[in-house]
Subunit: 319 residues, 4 copies
């Protein structure tokens, strides 16, 4: 098992959870999906997030799925598991369970009921305490702070986030998806550059990476998000890291029309699963109910966007 630590960089892909047409977990597709992601060069995987339909799984299904992913990854990259829960007892139970299976760390977003700065700080102190009691042999569970106001309704300032980081030694990563919050990202990065806080990894999640080139320029270490073309994020991060900023933008722009389409509220998951099925990664685009469905016109849109994307990538010599 790979450890998750504050030096993490690159792309941690938020995976889907593959189902068969009848809605059962599809473990063969799960294996193929893991292989696909690693082939494309991701640095890590994140499972059981919102786009992973985590709340639609039974507890047993969650364990089966995580076990399958971990077995297939076989320690090649870290695997992070989303464990946000309305109470600390179920959060601890899930965390113990996935860490025992071999996960590298867990991720937590605040519940929508915390609102003020003090409530946010107090909540994450309880989170940190929950995780500090789990590590075997004294080590606390490394965890990711997820800042996702569109989903949670919780607005965290740079000041509150640095306060949480100071209080939480085992928090090693920030998943930044305040939309897009470029200046907030820069402020947090500046705080660690000036040693006001220790360094943590900052991976960005805005809508499939819709601001990835700009976020990298502001000091992000990579992306933690989902998109049916993870090679976009991988290639953009690599070009950026090697100093080819314009090339990073060129690649990004080529994928942007489709990425935008996949990030639509509501039907985004259906688009992503459709594309992954089209690419042969998963056997079925099935999502559990309540779930959006694509119309014939949606499929036509997607097909046009893929054709155009292929053409543009070819022009860029990147196909």
């Amino acid at each position: 098992m790979k450890t998750l630590d504050a030096a993490a960089r690159g792309v941690y892909l938020i995976t889907v959870t593959p189902f068969t047409d009848s809605g059962a977990l599809d473990l063969a597709s799960t294996d193929r999906m893991v292989d696909f992601c690693l082939d494309k060069g991701v640095s890590g995987l994140t499972v059981l997030g919102i786009m992973g339909e985590a709340p639609k799984l039974t507890a047993e299904e969650s364990r089966v799925f995580v076990r399958q992913v971990l077995a297939r990854v076989a320690g090649r990259v870290p695997v992070v598991v989303g464990v946000s829960a309305p109470g600390f007892a179920p959060m601890r139970e899930l965390t113990e369970s996935v860490m025992a299976l071999g996960a590298s760390g867990v991720m937590v977003a605040p519940p929508s009921t915390v609102r003020t700065d003090d409530q946010i700080a107090a909540y994450f102190e309880m989170v940190n305490e929950t995780f500090s009691k789990i590590g075997t042999g004294g080590a606390a569970v490394p965890w990711v702070l997820q800042d996702h106001p569109v989903a949670t309704g919780v607005q965290m300032t740079a000041g509150v986030i640095t306060r949480v980081l100071k209080n939480s030694p085992s928090c090693v990563m920030l998943k930044h998806e305040d939309c897009p919050g470029l200046n907030k990202l820069a402020a947090i990065r500046a705080a660690s550059d000036k040693s006001e806080i220790r360094h943590v990894s900052i991976l960005c999640g805005n809508g499939g990476g819709l601001f990835l080139p700009e976020e990298l320029s502001r000091g992000a270490d990579g992306a933690m998000t989902g998109f049916a073309y993870p090679e976009m994020m991988v290639d953009v991060c690599r070009a950026h890291e090697s100093g080819h900023v314009e090339r990073a933008h060129d690649l990004f722009d080529a994928y942007l029309p489709l990425a935008r389409y996949e990030q639509q509220q509501g039907i985004g998951l259906a688009v992503r699963k459709h594309l992954l099925a089209m690419r042969g990664v998963i056997a079925s685009a099935m999502a559990r109910r309540p779930a959006p469905k694509l119309s014939a016109a949606d499929v036509a849109d997607i097909e046009r966007l893929v054709r155009r994307q292929d053409r543009r990538l070819a022009e860029l010599g990147a196909a």
Copy 2:
């Protein structure tokens, strides 16, 4: 096991979940709480609601607690279990589990993501289908539709509720807690009185029954809510049923100052557990984190209100 059906009347008490001072499930207090409720004359119990701290329990703790309640009730009154969940697989799993343990029915509130009339109707069709597949020997699981806009953000008109009831033959009860929605309650009752829809039980939940006398006058069959003095609801319902409406109001008014105090957003659960501990029902007022705490001044308020309530009840010959 008592069946939950559309003829249900009286008080279904929403119970708390007792913990020891260290936060473990307190099964001895659970037994005492069941005895206390039955002594006070409730017609049923509802467990694992929001005020039952359901989201703070592990799956195993939920099962243990439900099993204990059912064992102690021993079939004397129906027991309803809250099974609202963000996905149908966990909802079905929990429902199967508690029905197998001997529960009489389950209760579901809509998720905050359903908003339009069509979304509400579609959601409950999926709920109904989920429950129709569980009943052993072909019988569907009887279920309660919880209309609680303050908690869910979902506004259901009388029209949508009757639409759901028409589509859901196994929905036998409406938990009405639109605050207070007296005219909506009356409209739904009128629809069944005029045979536009079949009769379902309507139990009211507004803030510990803060509108109970008026709700009974509009045709409610009783209350499903929590209050550290369940005898208030029981006595008000009985007085009302026997035609003593002014007496029902007298009793209600005597408890109202404390009921109002217990219904405060935020610290309400702490007030309720404090009172139940004071009455000797549960051993500890402990609530799992994140949880409100009472200040010394809060406790002084409560003590004054209880003294005044005792005095007023004595004046009414009801102590």
Copy 3:
């Protein structure tokens, strides 16, 4: 004109705006309402609040109404005007206009868009600056900070409120209506008692004073809210001030069943106007659309509650 200052005590009644049956401003009823409030012993009036249907008035109607109230009050008590607005230019314009007419001060709630502690503090710095530029001869406009999370969605901690008060020398009053936030109220009062902040008047607004006796015990200086029986708040405050705390509770409890009914979300305004018309204060219970309407059963409820209230007050020798 009476000045509004930090020593304000007693009841500042939130008035309705009377209309004729055809929906026009009813200035004769406005005069009667002012007389009624002063007869009942209020210490001040607050106009153009949410329950005053302020957003349903044209700018000219607002000015006409405020002018009429001020003329009738004739300087006997301070009159506060609600000036919350989405922008500072209209806020300043309305404030200049009502101060020129003779208002004693203005009241501002934060817009729902401010969320974090820093946003709240920054917003009220702009408010304070807006008002500091208006006073003639150098005096800033005295203003009231309205803390009303149910209406605004903005959660302000005691810490943020004291920060605002430190930054805003012309803020002389806090309208506390965090529901009910007794411990927050106590914390703010303690801060001024310990001279950490200067003293400001704290008037409470929770739902027609539904926690008034407890709020007075925690250090509130009175109430700023609406109820068709303002004598309730006046008498409770007087009894409390003269040390008769149990008497204050007795009076409060007598009015509580009706106060609770009048505080219903949605139809509360209709109940209040119905009662004021019943008492002969206003000629018509008309509210501008969109507006709730009372059913015959609602009216029957109200009539019963008034009869019971009269009887109980007679028992207490307070009728």
Copy 4:
């Protein structure tokens, strides 16, 4: 004055409101902005929308600004004015005022308080009635129904929208900005194609037109939104109308990276005003408080994106 009617097509640009550096209305920039929009080929203008900082203007400033725009447009294209208001009296007052000045029609979004289908339908019946009483000589004011759930929180199904359209003969246009709601758009268009409802113009507003090519393919008649490069929307609409769908996508894709950046929540208005100042359209990028500010890094992002956009447009022979 041009009339607004159901045959409207093309781009109705949502304009900003130009201010001087000191925050006063800048009427010279207003004239330049009108000229700029007409030069770029827009079919209409929409003023006093959210991005027009309408709530930050005094009533008198609103009138001055609208008068200036109308004078400069001089009847060449229709001008629509946003008149959403929390009450019907101020809505009618503003509408009368701007129609008297020569506006072509008005636009209304529902308040966040309406939630159920019935509430939405009832609200717009009142809107329609408000506008039907204004038209001089018997003609009702043509109005635009704005469907913008991200801003209002109001979810309107295709069914509710067709119900509103049936009830409101003077509603001539739908501003579709449910994000992106392609299938909903198609359903409403299909209803008029099948004559279930009369034809209304459907203009799309999603985030500066971020789904414009797809929306046009689903039957939209054009766009009503803001972007510092209105020629994007104009050229995409023209290419699409003349059957050059791939060309429409090519143009769209060239502008997409910058359009995406300008659509960021929070700082979007600052980006738009910065770009308009950079292009020489307005003299100052000043926005009234509370307003976002661009950092140096934001400006660097913008400059890079403009350079890249210019290059890409040149490659496409469209610069």
